[in-house]
């Protein structure tokens, strides 16, 4: 098979994960956990192999875009959209990240979910997890490989669905395992917030169609210069609404922190490495449009820059290990969005890739920490206890539930205030976490250093305001990661559980080691002077130029990162946090820290201004307008009342009483035989009906006679 033949394999990147999910869905009931996990991982792994083959085909070939038609889809009038796959350097890069990181996370999840379903006492739910995960991979592949905005949109909403299903995976409880609507509320919030973004996407799509008469990438990009600039601006701004939804940017970022209700592999795969970067991909994909709309570019860059800084400040004030990482993800997505907004498409995509490595690593390691704490908790319950560990744990939970008045009594394995000193209990996880944290903090020579620096260098040249936003955000990034590492792994255990914490098995740590290696070496993808990624992407994105390495920028950001880590050491390591002690930063910053801790009250604000108002409006429309006014007053009183009065009056005049009654009684007899239950209404109703028909005939005949 020649390299051109390889391209025809591209539909398999969707169909392999679909096959995996179908096998597990249909036969999974009879399979063991290991087999289920293996099937799902293999499906994703094979998709990765296909992505590699496609990459090879592009590498050895001309590197130009190949469109692989698969099937017809929607054809109405001028609208003609097909299921066509687009293989180019940008889409293949995304496929590699999604399926590569995805495979590692699938393998990790075999071990993680094995324990998770047991801690939550619902073993049959194991299979469902892998079905949803494979569905996610399939949808993500449609998103990145579609050849039109509409096919991209299928994946775009499809991953939103998977996100909903997986955030709400433990749909019958809250994050601490208590019966509750909390997790399902988080899932719903994510879906609806994303739909607000999708609304923007749709409006952009409609506008695009009526100007371009096409939604296919090729047609749109080649025609873009012939379309008025105002239209392009309109389209790109509405696309940005979609980006803000999917990539959790201001003002639609609020769903992502809540999304941490999902199991940790989900947070790593969907809410850090892949799905949330779809917005960055969309802007990079639409580069030919954005480069024609400078105001849109400025807006995108500012949204990204402000989000990066805003989310970083919130991360400083969080206590939940995953919440810190969630706000960090929002912040890092801000870096990427700012980059692609400034036209630094390669830098944005570069950071997307390295971030996928080290943030997946961080989340999965955090998952390992949480499992370690759960194990400790389990042991503790077992020691105190009575009978088998299972029942002891359940009783323990039940007891926790029974005094639900004291919610703080329920143990939270993700609260960093319960941790401390874990590097002794979980040394492997500690080292892996440290690598991820340093990469995220942008320490030389880890992956994050190179990619973040490329963004900063570009911003320094193109957009100084954004440069400063990002630089401060980078400083805070190093600080909150330092804070987290000191709080979790150093000092003394602040809870009995932390003393009993246990290291994770190999199925969990080995995928992490691969990710750690990538987090260390990932920078090699686009080293200054070599620019592998730049020359790879320039086949797809016109006019990308290799960024220049700026020693001033690199020096400043490294200096700031080191300073931040030093500050975090002063605050959190020199005098380690003791049990029940206030965060030292709180003493230092006072109310400012409270603002960070309470996330600027954005959720409360949205709730008061939008959500509650919508509920009020809906209730008002339903109860007052539709119910009391329209149904009870207009219909029952005015219309039905008048009609009854009229018919009674007319009938009382004696007009045709015999005739109408005859019809009514005849019909009444007939229906009486059919239903005794209807007898009550026969007379009045059928008489009215007959009267209505009669009046109608009179009107018609009268009109015909008098015309």
């Amino acid at each position: 098979m020649g390299s051109s033949g390889l391209f025809s394999l591209v539909p398999l990147i969707v169909f392999l994960p679909v096959a995996g999910l179908l096998i597990n869905m249909i036969f999974g009931g009879r399979l063991s956990e290991k087999t289920i996990g293996a099937i799902a991982s293999a499906a994703t792994g094979l998709a990765f192999v296909i992505a590699v083959l496609l990459g090879v085909a592009l590498w050895t070939g001309s590197g130009e875009t190949v469109v692989v038609p698969f099937a017809d889809w929607i054809h109405i009038g001028d609208l003609n959209v097909a299921w066509n796959f687009r293989v180019d350097t940008l889409s293949v890069l995304m496929m590699l990240v999604v399926s590569g990181v995805g495979t590692l996370i699938h393998i990790y999840a075999i071990g993680y979910m094995h324990e998770d379903v047991r801690f939550k006492h619902d073993i049959p739910r194991y299979r469902r997890f892998f079905v949803f995960m494979n569905l996610f991979i399939a949808m993500m592949m449609i998103l990145v490989s579609g050849d039109s905005y509409l096919m991209l949109f299928v994946g775009w909403e499809g991953v939103g669905l998977c996100s909903f299903l997986l955030i709400g995976f433990w749909y019958d409880m809250d994050t601490l395992g208590r019966p509750s609507f909390a997790n399902s509320n988080a899932a719903k919030k994510a879906f609806i917030t994303n739909r607000i973004g999708d609304f923007g996407f749709l409006i952009a799509g409609f506008t695009m169609f009526w100007w371009f008469k096409s939604l296919n990438f090729g047609d749109v990009f080649s025609m873009a210069t012939t379309i008025p600039a105002g239209v392009i601006l309109f389209i790109t701004i509405f696309l940005l609404v979609g980006v803000a939804g999917k990539s959790a940017q201001i003002p639609l970022f609020v769903w992502l922190p809540d999304a941490m209700a999902g199991p940790t592999p989900v947070s790593a795969l969907i809410h850090a490495a892949t799905m949330v970067t779809a917005g960055v991909y969309l802007v990079a994909r639409s580069a030919p449009l954005y480069t024609l709309a400078p105001q849109a570019q400025t807006t995108v860059a500012l949204v990204g820059g402000i989000t990066a800084l805003f989310a970083a400040t919130i991360a400083v004030g969080q206590y939940d290990i995953k919440k810190v990482l969630a706000y960090s993800t929002i912040s890092q997505l801000g870096f990427m969005v700012a980059a692609v907004g400034m036209g630094a498409f390669v830098a944005g995509m570069f950071h997307l890739v390295t971030h996928a490595f080290f943030k997946a690593l961080l989340f999965l390691s955090a998952g390992s920490v949480i499992l370690g704490m759960e194990r400790g908790h389990h042991h503790l319950a077992h020691q105190e206890g009575h009978g088998s560990p299972e029942s002891a744990d359940r009783e323990h939970r039940q007891q926790e539930l029974s005094d639900s008045g004291h919610l703080e009594e329920v143990f939270d394995p993700g609260d960093m205030r319960n941790m401390g000193g874990l590097r002794k209990q979980m040394p492997v996880t500690f080292w892996l976490y440290l690598i991820g944290a340093l990469a995220l903090a942008g320490i030389f020579p880890l992956a994050g250093f190179w990619s973040k620096d490329e963004i900063l260098a570009d911003a320094f040249q193109k957009f100084p305001a954004v440069y400063w936003l990002l630089t401060i955000a980078a400083f805070l990034t190093a600080f909150y990661m330092g804070r987290q590492v000191w709080m979790v792994f150093f000092g003394k255990p602040r809870h009995a559980v932390a003393e009993k914490a246990e290291e994770s098995p190999k199925v969990i740590t080995v995928p992490l080691m691969v990710l750690a290696a990538l987090a260390i070496l990932g920078g090699a993808l686009n080293l200054p002077g070599i620019h592998t990624l730049t020359s790879w992407l320039e086949h797809t994105i016109a006019g990308v130029e290799a960024g220049e390495f700026n020693f001033l920028v690199a020096g400043l950001s490294t200096g700031l990162a080191l300073l931040a880590i030093f500050l975090s050491w002063l605050l959190y390591e020199r005098q380690p946090l003791a049990e029940g002690q206030k965060d030292p930063l709180k003493k230092l910053l006072g109310p400012v820290f409270t603002v960070f801790e309470r996330k600027y009250w954005v959720d409360e604000f949205y709730w008061a201004v939008f959500v509650n108002r919508y509920v009020d409006i809906a209730r008002f429309l339903a109860n007052v307008i539709d119910g009391r006014f329209w149904h009870d007053f207009v219909h029952e009183k005015v219309i039905a009342g008048t009609y009854n009065w009229l018919s009674r009056t007319v009938l009382d005049l004696g007009v045709d009483r015999h005739f109408i009654d005859a019809i009514a009684n005849g019909l009444g007899e007939l229906t009486k035989r059919i239903s005794t239950s209807l007898r009550r209404l026969q007379n009045g109703f059928v008489r009215s009906y007959a009267l209505a028909v009669l009046l109608g005939v009179v009107v018609i005949v009268g009109y015909l006679l008098l015309k």
Partner: protein, 502 residues
């Protein structure tokens, strides 16, 4: 032409054969009655497929039809005329497809007066098929009014506690609109000298202001049936009280008689008036979309939520039809089918759990996914289809409608489609609310309540799965590969659009 072997005659009147057979079966042989009705409806479906094989999809005109002189007195020219084209063929198929499914859903739900129920149900099918196939206004009117009678009894005898009120309201409401339509029909028959729909269309020549009055008279009947905001008040009452099978057919097919009426009569017979009315119809449609979605969300009863969602969904169909361009109308026609499948399925599914719990109050539900995993999965797919998730049927229709309306010259402003697109967000709000309150969260009190009566909630049984499976197949098929459906619609819509400036 051989009248007896005409496919349209056979499809429309075959249900009468079923009725005849039912008459001879003793009323206490419930299962024989059920099987007979099911077989009759399946044979009708088979006949409609046979009709489809004879249908030439590239022909935009009425096909397989005939016209026999019928009532020809005093210069009235009424004929018994039928025909099928791209505007109606999918609706005929939808009717024959949904009827056996609805009958299957009554297997254990209807135990009282099974014989009467089955007779009314089969007569209803005949009436609906006649509505979609009649090509003479007089004949159409007869079928149109005829459908009221069996539906009236289905609600009034087998319905919920307030069934009589709901049945009368349904009947009178529809009647009220129909009387205006009857006047318009008589006007046309007398002044244009024919009741034949194709003849009236080719003849044309009705002055503009008269067109507007005729348009409004027809619209009165159809808008109530759809129902368009603000004429929807009968719908929630009828749905809440109707038995499951009645709701399925009511939402699935009867409402489409309204939208079909606009498509078949208002647009081609009164094009000038339609063009003038388009922005106003679009306005009402958009209000309906938003209003229906918001009111849905505030309901405490599952069936009422689904009923109000129909107001929202049918608003999309109306918006598409009055976009008066290919995307809008083809999307609108497809969305009629989609709504029939999705909302029909929703009513079926609500009915299935109601049979076990005897309540539809959201407050007692919760956490059912764990107990009823198959039911939860099916409900999820149907819900997603209803909220227009790409890859499923609802999206294709909604997208085409909004796209068409956005650039419609007849509507004249993208604002209508823009606001309607916000309805897509609101659809997610009420659909996810419904799904969450039934399936997610902790176990609701109903689980214990059912146990108290000596049995536990069970997942779908084989019959129930067989009932919904065909709907699921179509939900995916139309979502992933709608081409065969659009191919049936497109030529007729193109022909229809010739009457409008482009």
């Amino acid at each position: 032409m051989n009248f007896i072997t005409n496919p349209l005659i056979l499809v429309t009147f075959f249900p009468l054969v079923g009725v005849l057979a039912l008459l001879f079966i003793p009323a206490d042989k419930k299962n024989v009655l059920r099987w007979t009705t099911l077989v009759a409806s399946l044979l009708t479906f088979g006949l409609s497929i046979w009709m489809l094989t004879m249908f030439n999809k590239s022909n935009p005109d009425l096909q397989l039809g005939f016209s026999l002189p019928w009532i020809q007195v005093a210069g009235w020219n009424i004929s018994f005329a039928m025909g099928v084209d791209g505007l109606s063929i999918l609706l005929v198929l939808l009717t024959t497809f949904l009827t056996p499914i609805a009958i299957l859903s009554t297997w254990t739900a209807v135990e009282e007066r099974v014989k009467d129920f089955m007779i009314f149900f089969t007569l209803l099918e005949m009436g609906m098929l006649g509505v979609f196939l009649a090509q003479d206004l007089f004949l159409f009117y007869i079928f149109w009014e005829f459908t009221l009678v069996p539906m009236y009894f289905l609600i009034g005898i087998w319905g919920g506690p307030r069934r009589i009120y709901a049945a009368i309201k349904f009947f009178l409401y529809t009647m009220a609109g129909s009387i205006l339509m009857l006047l318009a029909i008589l006007w046309l028959g007398i002044y244009q000298g024919t009741f034949s729909v194709p003849e009236l269309i080719t003849k044309g020549g009705i002055p503009g202001n008269v067109q507007l009055w005729l348009f409004l008279a027809f619209a009165a009947a159809f808008a109530i049936k759809v129902p368009m905001w603000p004429l929807h008040s009968w719908l929630p009452d009828a749905h809440v009280e109707a038995p499951t099978a009645g709701s399925v057919i009511l939402a699935g097919v009867l409402l489409k008689m309204g939208t079909y009426g606009f498509l078949r009569f208002n647009l081609p017979m009164f094009p000038e008036a339609a063009l003038k009315a388009a922005p106003w119809m679009a306005l009402l449609a958009v209000i309906g979309i938003i209003y229906g979605a918001a009111v849905s969300y505030a309901q405490k009863d599952i069936k009422k939520l689904v009923a109000y969602s129909s107001v929202s969904h049918l608003g999309f169909v109306m918006l598409g039809l009055f976009a008066l361009n290919a995307q809008g109308i083809e999307g609108g026609i497809l969305q009629m089918i989609n709504h029939g499948l999705s909302t029909g399925a929703l009513f079926l599914l609500v009915g299935m759990v109601y049979e076990q719990t005897h309540t539809r109050e959201f407050s007692v539900y919760g956490g059912l996914w764990k107990i009823m995993p198959v039911y939860g999965a099916v409900m999820l797919i149907v819900s997603l289809s209803s909220m227009g998730l790409p890859g499923l049927n609802g999206f294709i229709g909604e997208f085409a409608i909004l796209l068409g309306a956005f650039g419609s010259k007849a509507i004249g402003s993208p604002w209508f489609a823009g606001v309607a697109a916000a309805g897509v967000i609101l659809a997610a709000v009420y659909i996810l609310y419904m799904f969450q309150k039934i399936f997610l969260g902790p176990e609701g009190s109903i689980v214990e309540e059912v146990k108290k009566h000596g049995h536990a909630l069970r997942d779908l049984n084989l019959r129930e799965i067989v009932t919904v499976a065909p709907l699921l197949v179509l939900i995916f098929w139309i979502g992933l590969y709608p081409k065969p459906f659009f191919e049936l619609i497109a030529p007729a819509v193109e022909k229809l659009l010739m009457a409008f400036p482009h």
